[in-house]
């Protein structure tokens, strides 16, 4: 096998490409890393790629995780299996990454860009943002990530809620235990409990979609 020389090997699974998009300061890179670490827990070959540059300065932050037989750390247009958007406007902006089989999971909490707050442009009506994406993808799951995080007293855990939802849908070949282990791997002890609750809350929310056909691996190939 070619790849053995460049990556430690693990389970042979089909390729999965997950595109993450959000705004600087939302913790999107930690969420991305969590998905990567969880896959590694399962010995699934995985790569994660991130663009740092402007992370602290209010710009768009994009990252991705590819696993299994997918190894290119750049997701080309039309090639995302899953899009995790931490902000609805960014969900719409990620449309070019999607194809008819793509599952989009988006937070419904808007973060108004500076161009909007100073009145140079208008933040579109949220439903219109979802209408941009929904007709072109298999599913669009809206998540009140901030609300779910608050409901378990984990106000700063919206990013981990989103990962929980992804885990709950069952679309990844990664168990909940592995996500919990990944949390322990990444986070310092004092932050662990609220983030476990955030993961749980997201997981429960995501689990209600778990039966949907396009979320089951064998229907996706």
């Amino acid at each position: 096998m070619i790849k053995r020389k460049i990556m430690p090997m693990g389970k042979e699974i089909r390729g999965l490409r997950i595109f993450f998009t959000g705004v600087g300061g939302q913790g999107t890179l930690l969420a991305t890393r969590l998905v990567g670490e969880a896959a590694l827990e399962e010995r699934v070959p995985v790569l994660m790629s991130e663009i740092h540059g402007m992370a602290q300065r209010g710009g768009v932050v994009e990252s991705c995780v590819v696993m299994g037989r997918a190894v290119s750390p750049i997701i080309a247009d039309g090639e995302a299996d899953i899009v995790i958007a931490f902000e609805p406007l960014e969900a719409a902006r990620a449309l070019p990454k999607c194809n008819p089989k793509t599952v989009v999971i988006t937070s419904i909490a808007p973060i108004r860009p500076f161009t909007v707050t100073i009145g140079q442009s208008v933040y579109p009506d949220q439903d219109s943002l979802y209408r941009i994406v929904e007709p072109h993808v298999a599913d669009l799951i809206r998540v009140d990530a901030d609300g779910l995080a608050r409901s378990v007293s984990a106000e700063r855990g919206s990013n981990v809620v989103m990962v929980g939802v992804l885990a709950g849908t069952g679309i990844l070949p990664v168990s909940k235990t592995s996500f919990e282990q990944a949390l322990r791997q990444i986070l310092p002890e004092r932050l662990l409990e609220p983030n476990r609750r955030a993961l749980d809350a997201g997981y429960r929310f995501g689990a209600q979609f778990a039966g949907r056909k396009h979320l089951i691996a064998e229907h996706r190939d």
Binding site: P73, T117, P124
Partner: protein, 620 residues
Amino acid sequence: MHELLIPQTSRPQFLLGNEAIVRGALESGVGFVAAYPGTPSSEIIDRFAQLGDEAGIYVEYSVNEKVSVEVCGAAAICGVKSLCAMKHVGLNVAADAFMSLAYVGVKAGMVIVVADDPSLHSSQNEQDSRYYAKLSGVPMLEPSTPQEAYRMTLEAFRISEKFGTPCLLRTTTRINHCRGPVEIGSIPPAKGFSGEFKKDPFNLVLIPAVGRKLRLVLLERTQRLLEESEGSPLNFISGKGDLGVITSGVSYLHVLDALIGMGLEDRTRVLKLGFTYPQPKALIAQFLGGVKKALVVEEVEPFIEEAAKICAQESKLLVDIAGKGKGLIPQAFELDSVKVKNAIGKFFSIDYEQPKVHQAPELPQRPPNLCPGCPHRATYYSVKKVFGEEAVYPTDIGCYTLGVLPPLKMADFLICMGSGVSTAAGFSKVLDRPVVAFIGDSTFFHAGIPGLVNAVSNDHRILLVILDNGTTAMTGHQPHPGVELTPKGRIEPKVSLEKLVRGCGVSRVARINPLQVKKSQAVLQDFKDKMNEPGVSVIISKSPCPLFEARIVKKRKKIVFRTDESKSCADCKKCLTELGCPAFFVESSGGVEHVFIDESLCSGCSVCSQICDSISPKRI
């Protein structure tokens, strides 16, 4: 214990490419590390700075890349393994040292990591640094994944030591900032960083006679390196079939995805090059001899493609070789698997339909911005008030380059680190307009000093504004020689900016706090009046980066600012059109527009309250 110092593990570690390089260097027994930060290479020196004491190795943030290569070169001449890391344009700064160190060579392993940035995510150009290997005769390795970055760092040290030459490890953003599983080994017991120097001037002092001798040594060494490359396991052929692909670096991953996606795994042979200088000519020729056609897939310039074409010519092979040459592989910007699939489809006449892509309609942009409370914004505001649109504003590299964006629009010319002050001098000589240059504190230490000395000695009529926020902010708050705030408290700076500027011969020097708007503008006005006389003026605009301050001294804000809601902003909004802090937002109620301040974003800097009477502080 630092996470990169842990003993060997059975579970692979999930490491950034940059961290994998650090681990590889530690396992190689590196004793001496120096670098100036630069995206995407910065995490290498940052991790070393975190663990240096614990690992018993010497780590320094050097003042620029040239200095880092020189200090590391000296360590390696004394038998201490060394590493420096820089972004691609950093190697331009270091090129003088690099080209001649290649002649003199090293006694212990020395690895120079050069991180290219295809697609210019955080850079001013898209140069392909691989040509530096060819230019200097220094061997070069190119990893594809974090696992390979780790392995190749070990190999780079081995090759460097075996051949007595520095070795380049060339990465790209998608290696440096890619995280992947890495199977680590163990770190040898620390040997410290004490070296030995044996005087040998006729091999170590590059006078012309020595240079002529070492030039021949270099050429002979390149021949031996070629043999090493020919037999290196870092170059390998996989797959079967008569379609050929030659690739390296992250492009290899795009190729794998493309071949799997197009079902061509069993029809294609892939030559993956990891030891990319000297290129293994015999291996390439052997590969070309076994395929009908060969597509060369690499980012940016046709570095391998040119070599492949030479190999074919030398071996009298008529195989069709394409890549950039036939316009199949784009020369600009990063590749991805779809771009590679398109090229494969066209070149090998295989049906491939690109995924149908839906473009999103026009959406509000989300450009990066100077942070709320950033002192650069305040400086720009005041300079613009005093010098206006007429002045020419050469600028430099750092967060403050974001001043190019509206509403500030305070950047007229920029090419590289340190160019602000020297180009200002050129502008001032040929234009009859005021010239005000900007440079950050770290950038001034890095490359601004010679330009300032030059301006003084040639009586250039310029004002240089040094934006002193007390740190190297853009790349993640690394220290520089003028740092005062440290995790251990406030220190006397090792090098005082003001003394340095005066030492360069500048007599008109002032220090302002840009957060005091009126006072700053008074000083600027005074300097503007004095600029009728020839000569250099310098204003040090000093106020710490608020993010850095919050992180280092745990400073918490005590006040925020708010607007008077009883007054209409409909006819003014100067706070937006002239200052443009991201904490502002506009809302209309009853058809009347009003500007508000988002308290969670407001840093409490007070600048807006000094330009608008309706803005007042509020304790929190």
